[in-house]
């Protein structure tokens, strides 16, 4: 997993809960990286699971909520670092469609070893988009946070219905209906 995800995650934790919590989740269990993260590095996904688990234990906030909040938080980083991707699309649906078709293609060029989730999108009528999330990481809540922020970015109001296609959460279908 890209280092930027870890550094942004820790930034969020520090902002919301203070550095003490950061120190706690970094020291609660031995981490392979020794708890030292840089945005340009690459670290194992398992460490992220460890950090979230300890944050959940420490704060008593549900993991899905934490992931969703992190998704919303990371959106801001994406927006300021990769604004051009947002400019290319005129509305949320076409942006969401461009993730699989364009953005992930570009990311793969820059980081050939990046392991990215897969999205399948399908428009149903003018106002509905079906987006199916595929990832062994099972971080659909994180994705949901990003989707919410996307709608906000394009100043659109929509309902997001989320249903598990596979019980373990590795395939999740989002149905986004614009109002």
């Amino acid at each position: 997993m890209k280092g930027v995800v870890f550094t942004e995650f820790l930034d969020m934790v520090e902002q919301k809960f203070g550095y003490e919590t950061v120190d706690h989740i970094l020291t609660a269990e031995e981490l392979k990286s020794g708890g030292i993260y840089t945005a340009v590095g690459t670290y194992e996904h398992a460490e992220m699971v460890q950090l979230i688990t300890h944050l959940n234990a420490k704060t008593n906030i549900e993991v899905p909520t934490l992931l969703k909040e992190f998704g919303k938080y990371l959106f801001g980083t994406f927006q300021s670092n990769y604004g051009s991707f947002f400019d290319k699309a005129s509305d949320s649906f076409s942006f969401l469609e461009s993730i699989e078709q364009y953005i992930h293609v570009e990311v793969k060029k820059l980081y050939p070893d990046a392991e990215l989730p897969k999205f399948e999108s399908k428009r149903i009528g003018n106002n509905t988009l079906e987006l199916v999330y595929y990832s062994e990481r099972r971080m659909s809540d994180f994705a949901e946070g990003l989707i919410e922020k996307t709608l906000e970015h394009y100043k659109e109001v929509a309902t997001i219905d989320k249903s598990l296609v596979k019980e373990d959460g590795s395939i999740v279908k989002f149905t986004i209906v614009k109002q």
């Binding site: 120190d23 030292i36 340009v40």
Partner: protein
Amino acid sequence: MTDLELLQKKLDREIAARKQAENILESKALELFNANSELNILNTTLESQIIERTQDFEQAKLLAEKAQKAESNFLASMSHEIRTPLNAIIGMSHLLQDAQLNTEEKEYLNVLSSSANVLQRLITDILDISKIDSGQLEVEYKPFDLVALIKTATRSFVPQTEDKNIQLNTEIDPRIKSLLISDELLINQALINLIGNAVKFTEEGFVSVRVRIAEDLGDKLKIRFEVEDTGIGIHQEDIDKIFEQFKQASAEIRQKYGGTGLGLAIIKKIVETLGGDIKVTSVVGNGSKFTFHIDLEKTDIKLQEIANPKINTQGFEHLTDPILVVEDNKMNQMYISKLLEKWNIQYEIADNGKIASDWVQDKKYALIFMDLQMPVMSGYEATKLIRQNSVINKGIPIIALTASTLLSKKERALDSGMNLFLTKPFRPDELSKAILEYIPIGSTNAQSTSNLLENKSEEYSFNKSFNLKYLEENYSTDLEYYSSMMEVFLTVIPQDVSKLNNAIITKDYASASSIAHKIKPSFLMMGLPDLGDVFNLIEKKAKTEDLEVIEIFNREKINLEKALNTIELENEKLKNHLIQSS
């Protein structure tokens, strides 16, 4: 844990993270540097490879071009080397045609002749192709009359199409009203070849030549040339083949129709050289249609501006009686009669003074043209007789025709009772002027006629192998006259030469001498003084019965044949010129 300890831990982590990041960046930078170096090396290698390959390619191209040029040069020089002896074969076999041969020998001679002609055609084609291939084909862009070119090119096939009983149609866009710029000779060659093919492969139906403006491009016209026939047609699978060198549609075609298989290849190259393209559509058994497009530059010169001035024949209609021409020389007879026929004047020809003096006893004539030196009775004697004895023609105008510029001869002519003399060779306007002078009522027209005639001048370049000064002086004001002269020459002289040949073979020196004497001035009139000298020499040698005459005659036969060919070609060329300008 105190805040300070916490901050210390955070700082330590930040520092460690920074170092980690720096290490990562450093190794990435190194990777990048190495990759870049490799890329540079690869790039340089590629560049040098490209240069190397380009050089190799250029070398190969140069070699190929050199080889092609060598081949073309070889072909050109070989063709030339072959042509010279071949011309001798053709020339000699022409001369043999006049010899007395038995049927079997004649057959051999025919085979010899036709084979030599085929060979000549082949060599000409090869020479053309190699010229084009070696880039030696010179394209000369100048204004020309396209309409006239088409008419002339088509006209030359009239005898063949009449023989085969097929229609020959020409359709020319009436919007072509001015001279256009391109290479006249090349377009002519392409057209002649195409029409020739069409006529060759068509047994019934028609051959149509169509020339139309396909597109007006502003300062140029895109002209579409189309030659369509109702001939044997070409199989679809052979269509691509026919434009290749030495390719004909099939072996049967070659056997049945002959040809070198170079004609269409030459046409294609010519058309391409002129910036055009050629296409063919064909249905077996129904015919073929060849189409090519060429862009020709426009000019402001209108076609009418180069019209040919005409001789004024006004007044000739007042002639009620025929003109009597007394002349023993067949060439002159023909020349005068052609002109008189053209002017719708009735005439009679007497071969010598005796016949003339007999005829004038019984019949009224308007005027007599009288040669001076004739067998049986000379012009002087005949004139005297007519003046003395004739009742109905006593005061008739008699105009002497003399080749001599000697004043004494002219004085003698006038003394004998002639009214005027014309010096041979005379031009049509001189003849018409002389007639008009003696027409009773229409005499007032004489002046205006001569004025009209003086205005005649046309652009025509005479063949440089002739005596240009002589031709220009005598014929440049009247090309029709020149044409008539050549026509008469070509009808009369070959017969005379054949007679001379027989006389020399049979050692009849007296005849040989007089025939040579008769032939001599004709060559001077054609602007070929060298051959005139040859006949002068033959005349002298024959007179003294010098055996050398045989040798001289045999040696000069080829030159003679060449001269006849040249005059024939020149006459064709001039005729075309005259048609174009009319």
